[in-house]
Symmetry: C2
DNA sequence: CGGAACATTGATAGAGCTCAAGGAACGTGG
DNA sequence: CCACGTTCCTTGAGCTCTATCAATGTTCCG
């Protein structure tokens, strides 16, 4: 049972732009199928040249880079709506790996159609650049946090950021959102050791600022988190969906 | 005296793709002028919505983000060939600032023409996405270095990376390349304090691994630097130039 | 029951930060 | 020509934050 693009569950979210009839026709042709994967499944490998592009429909995952010494940097979290494989699509090679952390459902696109998209669908082409620029923005923000902030600040920044992404795609419920990651994943995302990540989380729990259990993150005192992280979280504009 | 795109000095470099006649015509129309600036001149401001896009022709600069507490993260170095303002172009707002550190000459493009580019020049549109994806790649690499490496490793990684960029655009001379930045800039790029940056540089100088004086960086022992940084520097493929 | 995966906690050490001071190079004005 | 301010680089000392090492606890599953 493949979801028709016209009934795309993501598209209904406020966060996404609507699609014209013509655009819909193209998307239907561009989409070649759906993929369901189990937790832990690798979706894209650094250095590979995937023939397929994906948009996450359901579930969550991780983008990460591995170092020769075995260390790992989590580059970003993958949420519904994330477009995967753009680097391979335009540069011919993925610069990071992607793997599922929950069961996921993904739209599958044919990379060889990408060039047609640029020729016949300039709006979609523009959207792709938008997505790449947005990814650049996120990474710049992460770089700034990791480069300039203390462990406590990074933690508040990272969890606030994740929470607001969940809000935008309708996954949050009040001050709660899913967080299906291990502390090790969070540590690798924030550039901290596992032990220190755990202790930092504990402090925030003791102060009643948040709770995190059974894969559910609950931000009890966002204002204080924003104060600690020295940021006010922006509300993003309408975003495209490929 | 405005440089004609046909005689673009960058275009002659090996690193860049060549341009067809039609493409040349478009570039000439897209380019609205040239801009010369002194060191220290701000080119783009975070949060601004610049009506102009730039390609650096000569000189060097910095991309950076400022934090409310006054700290600064240098997000990337700007070299000849760098395209500036894409975020404002597609997202409507710059997510970092850009400023010149040396005298610079820049090609100026009209942002309002960007949409025409997507409609009538799919190759160029593809190139823009390529550039954005490349920027994403660089940032991911920087994030990984800063998140997972020691000060010495980051230093070797950062300087090697800068040197190879210079090689690619013909600015290197043997093991030497220009490096017109203060140690404070380097510190802000690597997420280190100024003092520790200085001491780390000193260690590398004492070991005869590099020298850095009068704005000239000289990598005397790149192999050892690669060993320290745990990387082998990739040689990039042909890149587009906008 | 035993093992695996993950979370938690304590102890210790060290990498890197901050503070403080001094030196070198350069431009400006008297 | 010299005094002075500014900017940047350099160096030392002390301290703190975070990493590492080591154990234990918990849950889940075969």
């Amino acid at each position: 049972m493949v979801t028709d693009c016209a009934n795309c569950p993501l598209r209904k979210q406020d966060a996404y732009e609507t699609l014209s009839g013509d655009e819909l026709t193209f998307m239907r042709r561009f989409k070649v199928g759906e993929l369901k994967v189990d937790p832990g499944t690798p979706l894209l490998m650094e250095g590979s040249n995937s023939p397929q592009l994906f948009t996450a429909l359901k579930g969550m995952g991780l983008r990460y880079k591995l170092l020769p010494n075995g260390r790992r940097q989590v580059v970003n979290f993958v949420l519904p709506g994330s477009f995967l494989g753009l680097q391979a699509g335009v540069m011919g090679e993925m610069k990071h790996s992607v793997e599922a952390t929950t069961p996921m459902v993904l739209c599958v696109f044919d990379r060889s159609e990408l060039w047609n998209l640029y020729k016949s669908e300039p709006e979609r082409a523009f959207d792709l650049t938008w997505l790449a620029a947005m990814e650049e923005h996120f990474l710049g923000e992460a770089l700034t946090s990791i480069g300039q902030m203390s462990a406590m600040q990074r933690m508040c920044w990272g969890l606030l950021r994740f929470y607001t992404r969940c809000v935008d795609i309708g996954l949050a419920d009040g001050d709660r959102c899913p967080f299906p990651y291990r502390q090790q994943d969070l540590a690798d995302a924030l550039g901290l050791s596992l032990v220190h990540t755990n202790k930092t989380l504990m402090k925030l729990r003791e102060k009643q600022i948040l709770s995190l259990e059974d894969g559910i993150l609950s931000l009890r005192d966002m204002e204080q988190m924003e104060e600690i992280a020295l940021i006010e979280i922006e509300r993003p504009a309408k975003r495209p969906l490929i």
